[in-house]
Symmetry: C3
Subunit: 399 residues, 3 copies
Amino acid sequence: MKSIAEIEALIKKVSGLDTKRMYLNDFYHTWKESDDELAAVFAVAEALRGLRENNISSKCFDSGLGISVFRDNSTRTRFSFASACNLLGLEVQDLDEKKSQIAHGETVRETANMISFMADVIGIRDDMYIGKGHAYQVAVSNAVQEGFRDGILEQRPTIVNLQCDIDHPTQTMADMMSVINYFGGVDKLKGKKVAMTWAYSPSYGKPLSVPQGVIGLFTRFGMDVTLAHPEGYDVMPEIEQIAAKQAKASGGSYRKVNTMEEAFEGADIVYPKSWAPFAVMQERTDLVSEGRLDELDALEKKCLEHNAKFKNWECTEEMMARTNQGKALYLHCLPADISGVSCKQGEVASTVFDRYLDPLYKQASYKPYVIAAMIFLSKFQNPSAKLEQLLKRGDSRIL
Amino acid sequence: MKSIAEIEALIKKVSGLDTKRMYLNDFYHTWKESDDELAAVFAVAEALRGLRENNISSKCFDSGLGISVFRDNSTRTRFSFASACNLLGLEVQDLDEKKSQIAHGETVRETANMISFMADVIGIRDDMYIGKGHAYQVAVSNAVQEGFRDGILEQRPTIVNLQCDIDHPTQTMADMMSVINYFGGVDKLKGKKVAMTWAYSPSYGKPLSVPQGVIGLFTRFGMDVTLAHPEGYDVMPEIEQIAAKQAKASGGSYRKVNTMEEAFEGADIVYPKSWAPFAVMQERTDLVSEGRLDELDALEKKCLEHNAKFKNWECTEEMMARTNQGKALYLHCLPADISGVSCKQGEVASTVFDRYLDPLYKQASYKPYVIAAMIFLSKFQNPSAKLEQLLKRGDSRIL
Amino acid sequence: MKSIAEIEALIKKVSGLDTKRMYLNDFYHTWKESDDELAAVFAVAEALRGLRENNISSKCFDSGLGISVFRDNSTRTRFSFASACNLLGLEVQDLDEKKSQIAHGETVRETANMISFMADVIGIRDDMYIGKGHAYQVAVSNAVQEGFRDGILEQRPTIVNLQCDIDHPTQTMADMMSVINYFGGVDKLKGKKVAMTWAYSPSYGKPLSVPQGVIGLFTRFGMDVTLAHPEGYDVMPEIEQIAAKQAKASGGSYRKVNTMEEAFEGADIVYPKSWAPFAVMQERTDLVSEGRLDELDALEKKCLEHNAKFKNWECTEEMMARTNQGKALYLHCLPADISGVSCKQGEVASTVFDRYLDPLYKQASYKPYVIAAMIFLSKFQNPSAKLEQLLKRGDSRIL
């Protein structure tokens, strides 16, 4: 639990960061944000957590809606978004596209404006189809930006990317906050070895946004980041280029290897996680776009058969023993495919998973605060002054 | 954006209107409300909008539920109701009849009381079946009125008609607010020509409540209102009688013609919109009541084939050219069936629709405030005093 | 409506009760709670009702979530839980297991923690399977208790049992509040005769938690409680033992008879209600656990045929005539199977049901306050001081 002095230090830190580009802006991909902007998300998140721990209200909206649009299932992110909105005083209103009167062919522009008359933020998950998810989020953003400009909307709702086809920033920023706290500060990360590796799962079609998001973020902190996956499970090449460039700039490194063993060797942090081959995701996207839905089953079958060739990509005790003193921090965005628990064989041995339950759950616990910080920074031009105001006001969260 | 002086002028206006019959009462059909009552809805809606534009909180409920019952799909009205409730401090709780333990044969009286222990308002959409929607809303109202009288409910929840089989008052009142603002005041409407016309759509079973609501409301402002539709697409005759009577009383006129062309001739406002033939809606209601569900498909097919005879009822550029200087205000409750966008051929040409995007979205933007005003007027005996109180309190909506 | 003096008397009463074990604890089964603890629920519920009747806010959470998990359909309890949360300032977030990304085999521990980062209370209904419902609630409680202990959760969400396989405490406590108010005080209950009887219903698989909950609670007030059901419709024997023991301790009695007639003879309170035979519920649970879902239909058919042998177990006017002066208080948790209304023949004659509409609806009206009191007592170490604080603060619920 943070002391008031620690909260004040965080606020001071925020005041020294350049966040003006975040105001009334959207948060899509971490690599589009400056170092100051990422540092501001971490600091505001910690400050909001500190306020709550000290039973100090961080409500800054008296009314207003936080709209959620989940085009894929979600528990963690759904509850994290709801928690973040509630913490700030926004009421969540979910756009359930099945219950909605969204006409066939209704433009994104129309729907976006129609739901936004009193919306301060729109959180969107759209991670299923390559080339679609981010594009949809941008389309919604453009629509409400125009609506605001043209006097239709009284406020400009900002977009929080709750996972797209390219990045999953609320996840990876929470991952990074847990890493920073685990190692005792961002300055302790230089030279740490990170293994972002593919892992076997009997399920199909998992998005690429987590591995992409991890290499796109972790390479900014001077760490040695290794990506490992079987042949054919490449991530988007442009993200790899970003990762390589960032690693160089931060004094770390980025490389790709072909086995989990190699990646785990001496690692301080491991993130073994399944994803679909890019080509399969692309093919699925094409089949859906072209209405060839009857071919989807065959694609899934083929993909699962292919997956099954790589069952040895499992985070076992033996694999963990290769890491730095056998004690690497195990990360996962959850839910994991745990061998013998949620499936016969999967991403991780149950003994490994169980040993890391506490850090895993703590990792997840940062997400509500990361989302709240993203909203906060997009809504307040002078975020440190607003945090100061909340602290001074000192309203109790619970009576 | 309104100035504080303009808000004060609106509050003064409200204080001069007789709204006492609205207190603890329901809002069903505009023609049952006096001129003062309608004027009060407009003025309170504008005042609430003014407060929000000035970042002044209009929260007047510290706790309390706004129940929504949607027996038909909805996006715009769902989000408008949620926005209105949130603006006033009520939390929306949706009665999803599919997830509910509503026993077969459970009386409306029972369900209505069971959901209302802490409900201040109940918004209902029930527009699918002729003779049913309004009746259901009245049944709910009677149930909670009796519950309140008998000491079961501590407060009397008031009903807001979010669309029934007869009227769609939150829509048409928002339409009218946009017309008033477009033409620069209610006094500018005298003599304006309005064309409420049927339009072709490849979809089936659209309710009659919008055309009925429009002729039932627009005839009260001294305008010349024309209804146009193909043979067989009549609206309820009693609403036409009301329209005719009101037109006469207000110094305007009401007439019916048989072509879109005739209606559009010299019009200042056009509202081309599809609806189902009354007889078909009646037949559908009968089939459902009698459990003859297997005959519904045949009815739909017959109806769509019949519809297709009137594809020339489309709001094209040529049609718009017939209006006053070719510049009539195009209205639609949205979503529209746009030719070449949401369907092959539909209610409106895409070039016409696109030209009116801004006024169309602005038209929709009044709905949350109209709903909030209806709730406000049903909850406060002295609405101007309460508005004054909100203004004086001056709490910020956003910190 | 309570006066301020009456509210102050209730607060004083609460201050004299030992409620410290309720703090940060769960409410599962009434028989696990001490007399003081039950009295505290009643008194806090009445005090909260008094505050609301006097338009005094009882909001004690500035932010925070109330999570609901409904594994069975619900209207009354869903709205009661939502009302209770809203009254105290918590926002309801429903865990819809169908929309969630809960991995096959995901542990309850994981899901429970993932939804609880900002949860102050979790309300759970899980009443369908013998031996499962309570176990699930305890598993969730243990998970969040460990999460709190291990620093994952900043607060310990408390569990409210919204119906399990064993008890339905929010229902029976509301039932008891209505009985206390009906007879004019808890001291008036000594020696009153209660008939908790099975009744015929054409529906299948109703939980045993209501009859069990009623005999498990009503035997604590010095009343003579009779349970009646056809052969084979036994409730859990351990609950009968608890009932017998409690009856003795409170100076009342507990017995079981084989006919509705015998139970109704001279009764002051009757609670005729259908439930499934224990053995059938057990068999259904086994079939589901073993994946033998294709045998469920046959079980249902067999059970309904068996039920139909006991159609004479109906609360008719003749049956009611047997009660004390023919004027016993008729209780039901609703919805009832009303003969000629919701089914051809069911639990109760429509004339009997209609005569008791007001007390029945009032009975239901206590549930939101009972739930709010349970939450209140689990969240505040010194509940009377907090109630006093709310009264002194005197914020208006409605402006």
